[in-house]
Symmetry: C2
Subunit: 198 residues, 2 copies
């Protein structure tokens, strides 16, 4: 039972010491129960028993709230910016470099593992991550490509990334698990580039 | 509690109507508890309370027992034979065609989904599948390649296959989820071929 339920119906309260945490709990519940599109800052504020302005104050917007609520190790919009801001013929390399960079950090790996596990075991989390990633990464990268089949191309890239994460960090299949990151990047980048612009 | 425990210590019995099922239950327990290498036909027979000759009679060998116990939708050795038996420059295409063929059949998809989910949620199943697949598919295909880094190349192929299965069938990310199989094969085959012989 979360704090959300205890405070529901008691009217709006000003920001207290754990107001931020209560908003996050309410956000997680709403994202899980209503999905990305079905979650609003106003609704989260109401569930947390605070004013909507306070949610804006702490998190800015729904994207930021999503990133914090899902405990993502890196802001997907920052990922998207890194990817699209550079030469087109090195898109594949930038993508796999950023992605493996997150997984190679101890904290990032732990969070990404947890996320991957919940995506696979829960249809709700799968849908949520699919919607959030589509909106914050796949969409912007597809627009950069600017071709009619861009979303399929970027989707194939996503499949290779999810696959390498699973085989390297979860299944720990050798020698994929023990190959230095730089060599992995050298091998995977051309395949991604082929998907994107081949 | 399985039948194994009930019958343990009562000595060997001749084959009864569900002897095959009892051997399979004992095999599943042994594979899960002791891994692939730690499982022997003799040990499984003992746990099932039957003679080792009976296990041979029903299943032939440990590989066959593994395939049946894990409810694999297709025999990995048959997969390996299909892959290695053909032109080298079409290896990538044969691999993705066989793989998606299994996933596109209703029964195959159900079993593969269950398997993928348990691999991700259980380290035991992950290790077991890793060992079994290495022995029955990755090993033979790597030998066919006959280059020093063959296992890494085949591992990268495995990562793309696991990834496309996850994104297409579990996450159902559009348009990867809705693209006709033939088009997916056309797009993925060159990437796999690049991993293998590029």
């Amino acid at each position: 039972m979360s704090r959300t339920d205890e405070t529901a119906g008691r009217g709006r309260r000003p920001g207290g010491p754990d107001t931020r945490g209560e908003i996050l709990r309410a956000a997680r519940e709403s994202f899980a129960g209503n999905g990305f599109a079905g979650t609003s800052l106003r609704g989260v504020a109401r569930a947390a028993g605070v004013d909507a302005a306070l949610v804006h104050h702490y998190f800015g917007g729904k994207d930021e709230l999503f990133v914090e609520a899902m405990a993502l190790p890196i802001d997907p919009r920052q990922v998207a910016a890194t990817i699209v801001g550079g030469p087109r013929d090195e898109l594949g390399r930038r993508i796999v470099t950023v992605f493996l960079g997150v997984w190679e950090s101890a904290d990032g790996q732990q969070r990404m593992k947890a996320l991957l596990r919940s995506m696979v075991s829960s249809d709700q989390v799968a849908q949520l991550m699919r919607d959030g990633m589509t909106r914050m990464i796949i969409g912007p990268v597809s627009e950069t490509l600017g071709v009619p089949d861009a979303r399929l191309r970027v989707g194939l890239v996503a499949s290779q990334l999810v696959g390498i994460a699973l085989v390297r960090y979860l299944l720990e299949l050798d020698p994929v698990a023990t190959t230095p990151t730089a060599e992995l990047i050298d091998r995977i980048a051309p395949a991604l580039q082929q998907y994107l612009t081949g």
